[in-house]
């Protein structure tokens, strides 16, 4: 009997440890995916000043929008604590707003043929389309990693172990509206027709 109880305890400890390993692995995987999103988002942030500078010279009437996009960029660039799900959610939300502002900017750029036909803009839009493609890919990687993490954290007995070791579910990187569920193709807005 004592042997049986001992074996049972060892089995429970082993299962708990295995689950713990899975949880930590999945959390690290999600953090890795989050950092890959940040790498891509930084590329977007780096491209934005050039686009804004060009836009300012043609779109002087859209000063409010340009100022708002600049502010959103500054907001999205703020550092955050990747281990804090609420901070991650706010960071991703800020990025969503920036993307939304940029969509507006590109939509308005339609009305400025000189802007659309500028060689620099054409080059910028190509880089931008590529960056947006990578952001969409990084978002898919992140959401896939978060799904796995959240499943492990929320399903019993993972929920117990996760609480003990302080692993929490992470938020998904979701886009704000249905249009944004597709990556932005700047070419759609700026291409010379």
């Amino acid at each position: 009997m004592e042997l049986f109880v001992g074996a049972l305890i060892v089995a429970v400890i082993l299962i708990a440890y295995a689950w713990y390993v899975v949880l930590i692995r999945r959390r690290n995987r999600a953090l890795e995916a989050l950092s890959s999103i940040d790498v891509q988002l930084r590329k977007r942030h780096d491209l934005l000043p050039n686009i804004l500078k060009l836009a300012q010279s043609f779109m002087s009437h859209e000063r409010d929008l340009l100022t708002r996009v600049t502010e959103l960029r500054n907001e999205a660039r703020k550092t955050y604590d990747a281990s804090n799900p609420e901070a991650v959610r706010q960071h991703l939300e800020a990025e969503g707003k920036l993307q939304s502002g940029m969509r507006q900017l590109f939509a308005l750029a339609e009305n400025y043929p000189e802007l659309r036909s500028s060689q620099t803009v054409l080059e910028a839009q190509q880089s931008f389309a590529s960056v947006e493609g990578h952001i969409a890919a990084a978002r898919r990687f992140y959401n896939s990693a978060v799904t796995e993490l959240n499943n492990a954290v929320q399903i019993f007995p993972g929920s117990l172990i996760a609480r003990q070791v302080g692993v929490r579910p992470l938020p998904f990187f979701e886009l704000e509206d249905a249009h944004l569920r597709e990556p932005v193709d700047a070419g759609d807005y700026l291409a010379v027709h």
């Binding site: 995916a33 493609g133 896939s144 990556p183």
Partner: protein
């Protein structure tokens, strides 16, 4: 098609008519050699009676039958191969030229090592490449060839010993297309090999990439050294193209893809031979022969269109 018909009449048909005379001669020789093989088999079977009747040694009769039989088989292969080469020169080469493609029967210049390096071909010992075709369609550069790979395997001969045989491990087309998106990592899309098979394949091909499309996941398994770039290349739209292609070709499990050095490498495992120009035992002058060849060549363009390789965004 009408253009091709007039091209066929003007440039291909005269050559084919000449070749038809030669084909009939070759077929007659093949049948004669077939008779030699039959006689050799009979002599080999009844060697005791024959050696007694003719008055020569039993061993001599058997060796003579074997030599005659093998000689006839080798001659048939030689005649067929010679005729096949002539047919390809007369039909396949000008048809490719008509379509603006470069054709070479010898595929020695085809970059096979690229396929070997990305490990999308089975392990093999011997390679036979032929029908090297290259060109461009809608701004997409491509080249392809037909490949037959064999591996030496040792089998028990049932008498306690072993015998070595060449076993076919791949027969099909190897294609290289210029891919419209820039990329740096190596990503492979291989046929799904069930739960355990995919895990074992992971040791050879790198980290697995789990994608969202369940239909795609049922047919393929993706391995890459960059999770983000794999998803950048395999967008939902492109995954759909790949599953549709497998459905269209009825080739689920026969298609492997590799993204390598700005190109999309495709290994299409198909048991049938390609660009042969049809059977040598039927008249060469039938128009169906050229139509079948055009249909085979259509696959090259179909891949570009079905995979939307001209579209840079793949969104």
């Amino acid at each position: 098609m009408e253009d091709y018909e007039s091209f066929y009449e003007a440039s291909i048909a005269p050559e084919i008519r000449q070749l038809e005379i030669e084909r009939r001669r070759t077929v007659k020789r093949v049948f004669a050699l077939g008779a030699v093989i039959l006689v050799a088999i009979l002599v080999f079977v009844f060697h005791t009676q024959i050696s007694a009747a003719v008055g020569v040694g039993d061993g001599f009769v058997r060796i003579a039958a074997l030599l005659a039989g093998f000689g006839a088989v080798a001659s048939i292969f030689h005649l067929q191969s010679k005729m096949r080469r002539k047919l390809k020169t007369a039909l396949v080469e000008p048809t490719c030229r008509f379509l603006g493609l470069d054709y070479s029967l010898d595929a020695g210049r085809f970059p096979l090592p690229r396929f070997v390096d990305v490990k999308i071909l089975p392990v093999h010992d011997h390679v036979h490449l032929q029908d090297h075709i290259s060109g461009a369609h809608a701004g997409v550069d491509f080249e392809l060839c037909e490949a037959a790979l064999t591996k030496r395997v040792e089998r028990s001969d049932g008498k306690g010993g072993t015998k070595t045989e060449n076993q076919s491990v791949f027969q099909g087309l190897l294609l290289i297309y210029r891919f419209p998106k820039p990329f740096t990592a190596r990503t492979l899309v291989l046929p799904d090999r069930s739960w355990l098979g995919n895990r074992i394949a992971g040791f050879r091909h790198g980290e697995r990439v789990r994608l969202e499309d369940p239909r795609f996941e049922r047919i393929y398994e993706v391995f890459s050294d960059d999770q983000v770039e794999a998803r950048y290349l395999l967008t939902p739209g492109f995954m759909e193209c790949l599953t549709d292609l497998a459905d269209h070709l009825g080739a689920s499990g026969a298609l492997s893809f590799a993204f390598e050095a700005q190109n999309l490498l495709i290994a299409f495992h198909s048991k049938q031979k390609h660009f042969e120009g049809g059977s040598l035992f039927t008249p060469l002058e039938t128009p169906e022969r050229a139509k079948a060849l055009l249909q085979e060549l259509k696959l090259i363009y179909e891949l570009i269109e079905r995979l939307k390789l001209t579209d840079r965004s793949h969104l």
